[in-house]
Symmetry: C2
Subunit: 293 residues, 2 copies
């Protein structure tokens, strides 16, 4: 199947699964806020990484689908909390009012909290459809990526870095946690749904890390080259907030070239993994490089 058809089919599958698993019946409007935060939006890059990696290692489909949704729930909750007034105070996300604008801050806070819990709940089906050792390993990978040494830690560094003159290595270290940890975990979780040699696992780790870094460099480029309508979120906000970015440190042309070199490394890692079918993982790297929003 060619990449575009595969991607659309997997995006539909993930949307369907999320719609089934994110509860409509959670009390007092909480379910509505959770579904608003998760459904009908996003590129689903993280789920696609889980599913493509799982396919490359002959992984268990049920585990891969659950892992892909779990990672997306963690991503979605982080956006809900990140958009709140005490953080980035953003009013637009995926072309819609942010969750706290639509439902109030208290409900946004709770919806984010409940989405994180749901992510872990999904990883352990009580019908035995995912072996316990695999479920436990997926929980561990996701928890490490989401927590204080991963995404949440990177956000704390990001908060503390406003107005500071970070150098390139400090900026990369921050993004390795803030966005990179969850992207890399998406690949690692996909690998954990099947069996894979230590060498292939190491190369997949290198691929995930490179893809995570490239994603952020492209994000910084888009923040200055695109507009809010295309992005579905507020453009130009990094510069407005006086946040260090790859563009502010390197200049636009250099940042674009840097994204290309990092993606070359992602492709090289896949080639060296000696896995049979990495075509969709290659295509996802290209997709990250070419994305317009």
């Amino acid at each position: 199947m060619d990449f575009a058809a595969w991607r659309v089919a997997r995006q539909d599958e993930v949307e369907q699964a999320l719609s089934t698993w994110v509860p409509a019946d959670a009390p007092a409007g909480l379910g509505e806020a959770m579904r608003y935060a998760v459904l009908d939006g996003g590129k689903r890059l993280r789920p696609l990484l889980v599913l493509a990696t799982s396919a490359a290692v002959g992984g268990l489909r049920e585990a891969a689908l659950r892992a892909s949704c779990a990672v997306e729930l963690i991503h979605a909750y982080s956006l809900v909390h990140d958009d709140m007034p005490c953080m980035d105070n953003d009013v637009l996300r995926r072309g819609k009012p942010t969750v706290h604008v639509r439902f109030g801050q208290a409900q946004a806070l709770l919806a984010g909290d409940a989405l994180q819990a749901l992510a872990f709940e999904l990883l352990v089906p009580n019908d035995g459809s995912v072996p316990s050792d695999m479920a436990a390993q997926l929980c561990l990978l996701l928890a490490q990526a989401a927590g204080a040494t991963g995404m949440a830690g990177g956000q704390a560094v990001d908060l503390a870095s406003v107005g500071l003159a970070l150098d390139l290595s400090a900026l990369e270290a921050m993004h390795r946690q803030k966005t990179g940890a969850l992207l890399k975990a998406s690949v690692a979780m996909g690998a954990a749904t099947g069996s894979v040699s230590p060498e292939a696992r190491a190369q997949l780790g290198r691929y995930g890390a490179a893809l995570g870094l490239a994603f952020q460099v492209v994000d910084d480029v888009l923040d200055v080259t695109s507009d809010s309508a295309t992005l579905g979120k507020t453009a130009g906000k990094d510069a407005a907030a006086d946040k260090p970015t790859f563009v502010s440190l390197m200049g636009l042309a250099q940042a674009q070239a840097y994204a290309g070199r990092v993606l070359d490394e992602a492709h090289a890692a896949l080639d060296q993994s000696r896995l049979d079918d990495t075509s969709h993982l290659h295509a996802l790297a290209d997709w990250v490089g070419r994305r317009a929003y």
Copy 2:
């Protein structure tokens, strides 16, 4: 060992374990905020429930200690978020300024998020010291208790109920989620660290549910009979916020009598469980009934 000595020894053990596991080195002050939220405070009721239940079923000690800390981390994160201005806007907790007062709202939000992730990370040690099937089951129990149909859902109902005339059954249903789910899960997680008959498991569930309800009734009583210095948090705030409570619905004397009847049921459930040594679980129920803060 008598209860008081057992309790102090277990509280010390939990404090020590939390101090080891809640990272001091998380970046940009995040670790400091997480440790401030968790260490040196609280009755550790939930950890004690895990440990006493685990002991009653001959459970695995390493799993029980990790589960006891995981439950406490979920409890601690919920307090951090609950105290924020967009929720209860509380400035005093365990006799200290709340996390957002001390570290700012953004850091409080992130610290709560990172504590939730850490709870799940603790349940899956990567040294194999907890069997995978047990670790996965503990993750599932904790996730269900913390999420949209548990604690977070109960908080949403609580938010929506301010100023409403809830009847007793609606109030109980709200608390069964908001505080009851995590207390009941503490017992269930303790049971999951060992082996237990279906009948004993059912009676432990009844015990956990009764203890959770009694805890909340006593909490409402203390809110009107105690003061902020004794409670370590703001007294009288339920009445000030026009929130329905067991005292506002039943009156003070009736609420106190009701707590006693519910605790009788907790004791009866333990007797009917036919487990060998439930003395500490009995004592914990008494402790909940007698507590002054």
